[in-house]
Structures are given as structure tokens and as C-alpha cells.
């Protein structure tokens, strides 16, 4: 049985994960820094407290499923999977290396990855299919999908959302990493996404919002799924791109920038200072 981690322990993990993310991106020479840092608290909460999933049960028919539709934030996923024991931590050092399975988007060659993603707008349909299978087989596993906000411009998401609502998939939980930025700039300037809350409600979802970088808020919401019986759940997780490092936060520049040695040192110092403040 996995140890039950307290909020304080989870907060510490988030800081450690952020350090690992930055370290492997620097070592691998490429990566999606901003989105990995915005989504790390979500992954931390899911993998350490919410998902009925472990390396031992990963092949089990009744395991919860997690699909990372925003595949480019893979460094966050690799970091959490390594910590949960899906593969040795040392394998993270092969990120982006020739012949490595640890490439810039998740593939099933990496233990713990549910589905190959990377092209945007694919994860929700896959999650709907698996959630539907659970309903057909009267199994009680749940399916979680993490989407970026920029990828919501892909029409396939709304096809999937329509189906999720139609089949009343209350075993489906879609989390939007709502950091408000995409590679070109603020999402609302690129193509307006809002009002997302109303849009998803209109498609049949029960919608909640929270601070997506707050462990207590994430826990409170994710422990209460489904948000409504007979409806799929949608969590608008309001995050900060680059969260945890002052000069990376809310900066488009850090979408996929690799920290220089100096930036890396400064970021690690900031994170260690934050860690020291956690008593």
C-alpha cells in the first residue's frame, strides 16, 4: 500500500518535481518548461493521492486511467512517473537522447504512459472511449485527461465533449491546465476561448474551477469527483505557466525555453528557498 501523503508532503514533492523538471530539460537540451511547471501540481495530486494506479496495477483492467492530452508537457509526467516507481529515476537522464524512449511527447514505450500523445486534441476522445468501455462493462475505474488550454481550439475536443455529455460519462474527469498562455501569446488574444465554464456546461459537463497550483484546492476538487451524478466532470485548473520560478511565471518566453546555467542556478535557489519555508 502506498503511503498516504499529507498536503505538506505533497507541497514538498511539487518543489522537488519542479527541480527535476528543470534539471532534465537542461540536461536534455529541450523541453516545455512553462507548461510542465504549470501542470506539475495537478500531476502530483493525481498520482500521489487520486489515481487508483501504481506500477503494480498498471496492467490491471480496473486501474484508473490517466491520459495527458497536452503531450508536450511530458517532462512533468516523466518526473512524476519516475518518482512513483514506474521506472528508475536515472532513466530521466536519457531525455531526448538518440534511441531513448524518453522523447518530447509521451509514448507507451515508457512504463506508465497510457496513450501516445503529442498532436493536440486527441486525448479527450481516447479518454471518452475508455470511460465508455468502463460503463459498458460495469467496471468502476475512472478516466482522467489533462488538456492544455491552447489545444481547446482543436475542434476534435468539442466532438469528444459532446459525446461525453451524451453518454453521461460521470467516470470521466477532464482537467484543463488553464495557464492562459500559448506559444504565440495569451490564449484570449490568439483566439478567444472564454467563456470555457459555460461552454463545457453547455456540452453536458459539471464544471468546477480552482487554483491549479494549489494542492489543497486540487485535492478538494479531485476528491469530490464526479462533480455531479450522471455528468462528466470538468476542472478548470487556473494555473500559472512557469509556476514556482519568479522569472518564468506567466511568461510566453518560457513556453519551451531551456534555462541557461545561470538561470538554472537561480531557479534552483528560488525553489530551495521555498522548500526551506515549508516546515
Amino acid at each position: 500500500m502506498d503511503p498516504f501523503l499529507t498536503v505538506q508532503q505533497l507541497k514538498r514533492k511539487s518543489i522537488q518535481y519542479r527541480k527535476t523538471v528543470l534539471s532534465i530539460i537542461r540536461h536534455g537540451g529541450a523541453g516545455h518548461t512553462g507548461g510542465s511547471l504549470s501542470s506539475i501540481d495537478i500531476l502530483n495530486t493525481l498520482y500521489n493521492r487520486i489515481l487508483r494506479l501504481s506500477p503494480a496495477t498498471f496492467q490491471g483492467a480496473n486501474r484508473d486511467r490517466f491520459v495527458q492530452s497536452k503531450g508536450h508537457s511530458v517532462e512533468a509526467l516523466y518526473t512524476v512517473l519516475a518518482d512513483r516507481g514506474f521506472f528508475p529515476q536515472s532513466e530521466l537522464e536519457t531525455l531526448n537522447g538518440f534511441g531513448s524512449h524518453f522523447i518530447g511527447h509521451p509514448t507507451r514505450h515508457v512504463n506508465g504512459v497510457e496513450q501516445n500523445t503529442g498532436a493536440l486534441g486527441h486525448g479527450m476522445s481516447f479518454a471518452v472511449g475508455s470511460a465508455l468501455a468502463a460503463k459498458l462493462d460495469r467496471k468502476d475505474f475512472r478516466v482522467f485527461a489533462l488538456l492544455g488550454d491552447g489545444e481547446l481550439a482543436e475542434g476534435s475536443n468539442w466532438e469528444a465533449a459532446m459525446t461525453a455529455g451524451h453518454y453521461r460519462l460521470d467516470n470521466l474527469v477532464v482537467i484543463v491546465d488553464r495557464n492562459g498562455l500559448q506559444i504565440t501569446g495569451p490564449t484570449e488574444e490568439v483566439v478567444q476561448l472564454e467563456p470555457l465554464h459555460l461552454k463545457f456546461e453547455a456540452f453536458g459537463f459539471a464544471v468546477c474551477e480552482c487554483d491549479g497550483n494549489s494542492i489543497p484546492e486540487l485535492l478538494a476538487n479531485l476528491e469530490s469527483v464526479p462533480f455531479a451524478a450522471g455528468q462528466p466532470s470538468l476542472l478548470l485548473a487556473k494555473t500559472r505557466k512557469g509556476c514556482g520560478v519568479s522569472f518564468m511565471e506567466n511568461s510566453v518566453r518560457w513556453h519551451h525555453r531551456v534555462p541557461s546555467d545561470q538561470e538554472f542556478e537561480q531557479a534552483i535557489q528560488e525553489l530551495e528557498k521555498a522548500e526551506a519555508l515549508l516546515v
Binding site: R108, N116, F126, G129, A133, E159, T163
Partner: protein
């Protein structure tokens, strides 16, 4: 003689029978149960059909998710939409992710005739041949259709099945064995070979019969499997008959013909060779039968191509 049906009807009937015995078999459709002749399937196993509406990308993504959870999924939609609009889902969600979805393109080729180019799939072999990890199958008649559906059910890898909706004659067979990846010998002969696929095998056989009356003895092979290609059968036909005509209800670009051409050229195999299919042009309008005639995919058209190719050979 046993009554015949369209391959599409045989697909639906075969699948219905199998689904009654296996509740894990699912059909996923995009408002296409009628055009997929699936009404009897719905009547037989109403719990085993999933409707997603007119949304092909979602159709394939959901099918991958269902397959990942252990379902035997047939994603059924008109070939024209399925293999174009949802190509990225086929590439990533099914093939790259290795989800054993049976992607079923219905009313394929120019089956929709006068509905026009939006409804034709003359690109699907080409598009899918360039994607790793998918078998591509276009059965010629009811027998091959039944066998292909059963083979697909046994497979744990992605497969594309392509069906037309014309009532097909039973083709004679020199061997009853059906195996994906092995061409079926429909007629033996050593003067010229027709390497045909899907609904073009029947006119190829007609051509062979016309030519037999002129003393030209043609071999007819059904290349029901476009990928993996039965390379040995192509090379054998080339070396034994010296004259090859490939026939397909597909663009001349990227389909069976070019697959054979590439193989032959790389083997340095000297052979007279012609690809019959749909040329790179704004496709003529008309019914499937009219289009087949117009583009030379008919008994007389193919016989004419054969005579011309053989004349060139003896020059």
C-alpha cells in the same frame, strides 16, 4: 449458383454473427449504421453499437480508447471521410499507439458514384501505406470479405478494411486458403498477369476470359492485401508472365500499382508493366460502373490494355 451480396452486406452479416457470441465486439459509427448495412447488427446486438454522430476524428479516438480497455472495435464510416478527416487519429491514436482498432472504410473507391469527389476515396491506400503498423485490405468478393472479417477479429494489430457496396459475383478460386498478405490465385495463365484488388478483380477476370478466346492465357491474382504486399507473388508473376497490369479502384498514385512498380524496379525485374486506376485529374462524373468503363476498369477496357502491352512487348 449461390446468391451473392455486396461485400458490405457480407461484412455486416459476418460481424453480427460473431458479435452474438462475443459481447466484446463493438461497432462504432458516425451516423453511418444505415450506409454500413448495420441495421441487422443493431437488431441482433443493440448493446454493441456506439454512436458518436457525424464526427470521424472522435470516432477513431473513441475507438482507440475502447480498444485500449479491451474491446474488439470496428470503427465504421465512409472511407472518404474516415481516411482523410481522421487520418491523424488513425496515425497516432491507432497505429502509433498500437491500438488494435479495425478501421472499416465503407462505400469505398467510387462506390458513391455521382455524389462526386467529396465522397470518393481514391487516396486511402496511398495515405495508409505511408503509415507504419496497419494492414490494408480490400476484399474482392463475398468469400474474401468473410475471411477478412474473421482474420481481423483474430488480429491484435491495427487493420484497415475497405468495402464497396456493389453486389459482387463469386470468383473462382484455385485454392480455398485465405491468408492476409498472400494474394489469391483466381485464374492461372502465363501470358500476362492482372494484379487486381477489391471490386476490380471481377473485371480483371472478365478481361482474362475475353483474352482466352484470343489464345492469350492470363493469370489473375486478387491482391486483397495491399499492405503487407505479397512480394513473392508479384515477382513470380513478373518472371513467369513477363507482362503485368495492376488494377485498383484508387488513384494511380501511391496505391497497389506503385507498390508493385517500386518492388519490381528495386529487384531489377525486367517486365512490361502498366498501372490501371484513376488518373490525376478532376474525376469524370457518373456511376461507379460508368466511371470504371471510362477509366478502362472493365473487361473490354482491361483486355484492350493487355493487348496493347503485349504488342509493345513483342516489338
Amino acid at each position: 449458383m449461390e446468391a451473392t451480396s455486396s461485400n458490405l452486406d457480407v461484412f455486416a452479416a459476418t460481424l453480427s454473427e460473431a458479435a452474438k457470441a462475443d459481447r466484446n465486439i463493438l461497432v462504432v459509427t458516425s451516423d453511418s449504421r444505415g450506409s454500413g448495412r448495420l441495421t441487422p447488427f443493431v437488431a441482433a446486438v443493440p448493446e454493441q453499437i456506439v454512436e458518436v454522430g457525424i464526427a470521424e476524428q472522435n470516432l477513431v479516438g473513441i475507438s482507440a480508447g475502447l480498444a485500449a480497455a479491451g474491446k474488439k472495435v470496428f470503427a465504421v464510416s465512409p472511407a472518404c471521410f474516415l481516411t482523410a478527416r481522421a487520418l491523424e487519429q488513425i496515425k497516432n491514436d491507432v497505429c502509433y499507439s498500437d491500438r488494435p482498432v479495425k478501421v472499416v472504410g465503407i462505400s469505398a473507391g467510387v462506390s458513391y458514384g455521382a455524389l462526386g469527389s467529396t465522397h470518393h476515396s481514391l487516396h486511402d491506400f496511398a495515405a495508409l501505406r505511408a503509415i507504419h503498423n496497419i494492414t490494408i485490405v480490400a476484399p474482392a468478393d463475398n468469400f474474401e470479405t468473410r475471411e477478412a472479417v474473421q482474420a481481423a477479429l483474430r488480429m491484435s494489430k491495427p487493420i484497415y478494411l475497405r468495402f464497396g457496396k456493389k453486389v459482387m459475383p463469386h470468383l473462382p478460386r484455385l485454392a480455398s486458403r485465405f491468408e492476409l498478405g498472400l494474394a489469391s490465385l483466381i485464374r492461372s495463365g502465363n501470358d500476362l498477369s492482372f494484379l487486381a484488388s477489391g471490386e476490380t478483380v471481377a473485371p480483371a477476370l472478365e478481361a482474362a476470359e475475353l483474352l482466352a478466346a484470343e489464345g492469350i492465357d492470363c493469370r489473375v491474382l486478387s491482391f486483397h492485401t495491399i499492405k503487407p504486399l505479397d512480394e513473392a507473388a508479384v515477382l513470380k508473376a513478373a518472371s513467369e508472365t513477363g507482362c503485368l497490369i495492376t488494377v485498383e479502384e484508387h488513384s494511380v498514385s501511391g496505391g497497389l500499382g506503385e507498390a508493385c512498380a517500386s518492388l519490381l524496379l528495386q529487384h531489377g525485374q525486367p517486365v512490361r508493366f502498366q498501372i490501371v486506376g484513376f488518373p490525376d485529374e478532376y474525376t469524370m462524373t457518373g456511376s461507379q460502373a460508368e466511371l470504371f468503363r471510362h477509366y478502362g476498369i472493365s473487361g473490354s477496357g482491361l483486355a484492350q490494355s493487355a493487348r496493347r502491352l503485349r504488342t509493345n512487348k513483342s516489338e
